[in-house]
């Protein structure tokens, strides 16, 4: 999806909004970081090959 926002929302500024959104928000942030972690481990074998 192309999103033509004129303003750079800031990547960190987007994530921190999940964290300040209470318990449910923190869960979203945790899930995001968990997925990033898993993705990194999944990528590693292909990176080496």
């Amino acid at each position: 999806m192309t999103h033509l926002a004129y303003l750079d929302a800031g990547s960190g500024s987007l994530i921190v909004q999940a964290v300040v959104g209470g318990v449910a928000g923190a869960a979203v942030a945790a899930k995001l970081y968990w997925r990033r972690l898993v993705a990194r481990f999944r990528r590693q074998p292909t990176d080496r090959s």
Binding site: Y6, L7, A9, S11, V16, G22, G25, V28
Partner: protein, 471 residues
Amino acid sequence: MAFFDTGVQAEPGSFRDPGNRVFHRHGEVLRGLDERSARDWRALAAADFFRDLLAAGKVCGTEELTPAPVDLPWAAVLRHERIPFVSHPYEWTYGMLRDAALLHLDVLRMALADGFTTKDGSAYNLQWRGATPVFIDVGSFEPARDGEPWAGYRQFCQTLLYPMLLQAHLGVDFQPWLRARIDGIEPDQIRRLFGGTRRWRPGVLTHVHLHGAMQARNARASTADVRAQLRAAGYSRELALATVRGLEKLVRRLDHRPGESYWSDYQRTCAYSVPDRQAKEEFVDRAATATAPGLVLDLGANDGRYARIAARQAGYVVAVEQDAAVADALYRALRAAGEQRVLPLVMDLADPSPGGGWRGVERAAFGDRARADLVLALAVVHHLAIGRNVPLAEVLDQFVALTAPGGSLVVEFVHPEDPMARRLLANKPDGLFPDYRREAFEPLLAARGRIVRQAELPSGTRTLYQVVVHG
């Protein structure tokens, strides 16, 4: 700067969103929209929340010109209500900044609940009708996309929340910071001021430290990737609303009131006698009645006594006061009274707001915005001439520059024998101001306009003049 042959003047402060631009034509404030923005506008115009905001006066009056003018290169053109006097956040008091922030969050919360959002979160999205804030950036609304946090959060922090944290938690005036940086205060800068136990003050740990750390850690991640990751992780509109509610709660807690300052009690403790004050009130009232001014500028407004008297006869009054605590007290009094025709501003007359932003014109200088039909300069000449060493002729030149051609200037000259002038002179070397005399002042005044009325105050050490400035 005319860019078409059609009497169009582009608004220099409106270029950051290429999809819509504000311009002026024949005294009207118009906004041109490209195809995409025009689609967003039509969805917005049909939305309940927007109609509610318009009806409550929280968003500036807006209507679409139909049919769209064929001589303009836009898919649609909107006409906006004219804001009587454009001001910048660094000219606002703390209470004004806080109320502006609350209105922005209020507008955003209502938009989110109806499936819309705002593209940005800047303090410059807000203006004033007197002491009532109004959201002006109608081009900022767009349909919300599910699973996306607010794009304007960073701007909100930088231009509204951090300045409030500075003032409320540290007692540091926020105005110079905003004046110096058009995009506000970066998290990376403000976090350095909130070390040690200060990090536990309300809002600091999350919105300052965590925000700064997250920015640093995600500096290389694109916002498109992060948006997709957040959506996949289950970020929802409810979460966006919870964040806005959290911000509202925080801003409400930041109810800082500046301490009493030297000027806070000025009306009561200064050398005015009651007869003097009454004579001044009468003089101002007569000047305002005779001129029926559209715009009045009250320079050195203090508690706004004369601004309010002028407002009885005027279209709009801008009350400029140098002392932030005094101006904030005035704002709160005006706000409580629901005043919509007196705008209080904080500004040092010896250091008025310069032009700022791109090419120095994105935010117009005070002198370029102010052309008043009536200028009140009561008990300020001596502060500038003696207190700040500005030559008398230049003090008057500045007052005249702020007056529309043919407009009126009401100026008070405090004689050197007056107790207040003596107090100021006592701080300066003897004989530094040989020209600070009534005999020198009057010819300077007569050279700049026609003195139509003058009055001695009962104390005998102050003279009021009404001058029609040469056109």
